[in-house]
């Protein structure tokens, strides 16, 4: 038998592929005499580690599959990844390079339209750049959905010579990984987006604040900033690492954290756009907001962006399909898609094969949606009308074994663990919420020990039954929702109340 000629094999070096043994597979291909190229991930996570040989994908691969993959007889073949039914219908603008380029190759980046946005932005005045971003309709992708162009204009118009661009890469929501994939797979795009933002608002320094849970993303970003140093000069960009505090994803506590303080939320106003980092005007944008900028600033990009989407939610949204889903991964598409399509048509239903019970959209603070709500279009306002939120676009699927009472308790417990402690509704309300849900699920052992405390002398002295406890929980949620300083305490009621509304049976003893 003659040895086959050396082949080039493409394997992702995304964290998810590494966690599933991509390095061992890469080593096996090298041992078999192949050249291995480490590229970004396509985002088809159920197929990771995905191996690409001669344009054909194979996955999920293990080192023992190497000989069969090389002689083309492996049953793991999925055809050309770009033609896969999961990839083909997507409208990838932010993730256009996913699966195609080597994350830290300047040549690959430039060959796929990299730096075009920055070059064109620099040929315009900052005012024109801001006008195009406004025209594109881009809204903050972190969850709040604030128009990016208006935020930039506020910072640009703010008095002061020292201004900052801060990229919020503190992606702590369970069920989200788009920021991580972008930082690991296409770090130059983020650098370019920050450079354009800094040019538009007149900032000399940019910070990327990311999580200590993302060591690979940190390494890639630092390497990318170093490689792009001359291109983005005189702008100085630094990566700052969080230290395990979920609340630092809130923009004002993030700013405090960069300043070297406890990650405590600041009251607004003043808005960070006027008094942000070190008291200076600061743009705080999410990774996906910043990463959408290079495309928007390329020739004709803003018009193309504004043509996509529905209503006031324009452009594309990278949606993350996670949890108990058969085909999980990254799905970037224009706004307007329904959960039914996402969960069943694209996601293939649950991984366990059991019926879908609930879907949580928007991270730990997002509402649980029941299957009868699956026709709501993916749109900021449509979700708000249904008492839900899009958040960062994470979609976590649960099968019928999930207990929604337990998940509601988890939402309160998570809020209690991660509360910064500044405002009372969040700090104390979350703990009282855990106790109350425990009491409800435990069958209302009367009397409530909290009510018996001397400082509770104003509480009604009748023993509360189930209905009374539910009413109290709803009341508590109301207080947290309207009384909390930031979204942590303010949104924690969403999962609790939605679980209570749709699955009351899970709140019985």
């Amino acid at each position: 038998m003659t040895p086959s000629p050396a082949k080039t094999v493409r394997i992702s070096d995304d964290s998810l592929a590494l966690a599933l043994g991509a390095d061992a597979i890469a080593a096996a291909f090298v041992a078999a005499g192949c050249t291995v190229e480490r590229v970004s991930s396509w985002g088809m996570h159920w197929l990771e580690p995905l191996v690409e040989v001669d344009g054909i994908g194979y996955g999920p691969a293990t080192p023992t599959d190497v000989p069969a993959i090389l002689d083309g007889t492996s049953p793991l073949a999925i055809g050309a990844p770009a033609e896969h039914p999961f990839i083909k219908p997507q409208q990838r603008l932010t993730f256009a390079r996913a699966g195609l380029t080597r994350p830290l190759s300047l040549a690959d980046y430039a060959a796929t339209g990299g730096w075009e946005g920055l070059t064109r932005a620099r040929s315009l005045t900052p005012i024109e750049v801001i006008a195009e971003v406004t025209q594109s309709g881009l809204r903050g992708r972190g969850g709040a959905g604030f128009p990016a162009g208006i935020k930039w204009k506020t910072v640009a118009d703010a008095p002061g010579t020292r201004k900052y661009v801060v990229c919020n890469a503190d992606e702590g929501d369970s069920g989200t990984f788009a920021d991580r994939m972008l930082m690991e797979g296409d770090p130059f795009q983020l650098v370019e987006g920050i450079a354009i933002a800094a040019y538009a608002v007149g900032a000399a320094t940019g910070y990327i604040y990311t999580r200590s849970e993302y060591p690979h993303a940190i390494a890639k970003l630092q390497a990318a900033i170093e490689l792009a140093r001359d291109i983005i000069a005189p702008l100085h960009i630094e990566v700052r690492t969080g230290a395990g505090a979920y609340v630092c994803g809130e923009e004002t506590s993030l700013l405090n954290s960069i300043e070297g303080k406890r990650g405590i939320v600041r009251a607004k106003p003043p808005l960070p756009a006027l008094e942000g980092l070190f008291g200076c005007p600061t743009v705080v944008n999410n990774v996906l907001t910043v990463a959408a900028i290079p495309h928007i600033m390329a020739e004709g990009g803003a018009e193309e962006y504004a043509r996509l989407g529905i209503d006031r939610s324009l452009g594309t949204k990278p949606i993350q399909l996670a949890g108990n889903i058969k085909h999980g991964g990254l799905y970037e598409t224009a706004f307007g898609i329904s959960l039914r399509d996402l969960v069943y048509t694209i996601g293939g239903g649950t991984a366990s094969g059991r019926p879908v019970k609930a879907v949580q959209v928007g991270g730990p603070l997002g509402a649980y949606l029941a299957p009868d709500q699956f026709d709501i279009p993916f749109d900021y306002e449509a979700y708000a009308r249904a008492d839900a939120l899009i958040g960062h676009g994470g979609v976590v699927v649960f099968d019928d074994t999930a207990n929604m009472g337990a998940l509601a308790r988890f939402a309160m417990a998570f809020c209690a663990a991660e509360s910064c402690g500044k405002c009372t509704p969040c700090r104390i309300g979350s703990t009282r919420g855990v106790e109350l849900i425990d009491r409800i699920r435990g069958g209302a052992v009367t009397p409530d020990p909290v009510v018996a405390l001397p400082q509770m002398h104003n509480a009604p002295k009748v023993d509360r039954q189930h209905e009374g406890d539910i009413a109290l929980l709803e009341d508590l949620c109301e207080t947290m929702k309207f009384g909390s300083l930031c979204a942590l305490g303010g949104f924690a009621p969403y999962p609790v109340l939605s679980a209570l509304r749709h699955w009351p049976a899970d709140f019985k003893a």
Binding site: E213, G260, I325, V397
Partner: protein, 141 residues
């Protein structure tokens, strides 16, 4: 003392930066396995802060500790997406395997939410964990 020298070096390396405290604390935690009160005092002095301010920051963030725990450290994600993929069913076996030899802690989200349950040992990640696979990760930690 070697420790004092390297502590001063860490502080000096970050002193010119804006907001140097968190980068210093990360490096001190990595170098010594903790940020103890003695180190907090030195850092406070160098940054012209009070000890209370530095202590406040150290105690706020989950990543910083005042005492050394030299045991191997396995962090298991128990956030919603990993719960949906059955992480809670692995916890008893994991705690049994960890015993007192391994420090097993809960982390909220490693960003591997489509392939949970997931765990982390230092910078090494593990996903699609079964009970057996997780026990093996803990035993090898």
């Amino acid at each position: 003392m070697v420790r004092d020298e390297s502590l001063s070096e860490i502080i000096a390396a970050h002193l010119g930066r804006e907001g140097p405290l968190l980068p210093i604390l990360h490096d001190v935690q990595a170098a010594f396995g903790c940020v103890d009160p003695a180190a907090q005092e030195v850092i406070a002095k160098a940054l012209n802060l009070s000890r209370a301010e530095v202590h406040g920051v150290v105690s706020f963030y989950h990543d910083f500790h005042e005492d050394v725990d030299a045991r191997p450290h396995v962090e298991l994600c128990r956030a919603e997406a990993c719960q949906a993929r059955g992480v809670e069913a692995l916890v008893d076996a994991a705690e049994g395997a960890a015993g007192n030899r391994v420090r097993l802690s809960t982390i909220y989200c490693l960003g591997l939410c489509s392939a949970g349950p997931a765990a982390r040992v230092g910078d090494t990640l593990h996903a699609r964990l079964t009970s057996e696979a997780l026990v093996k990760v803990i035993e090898n930690a």
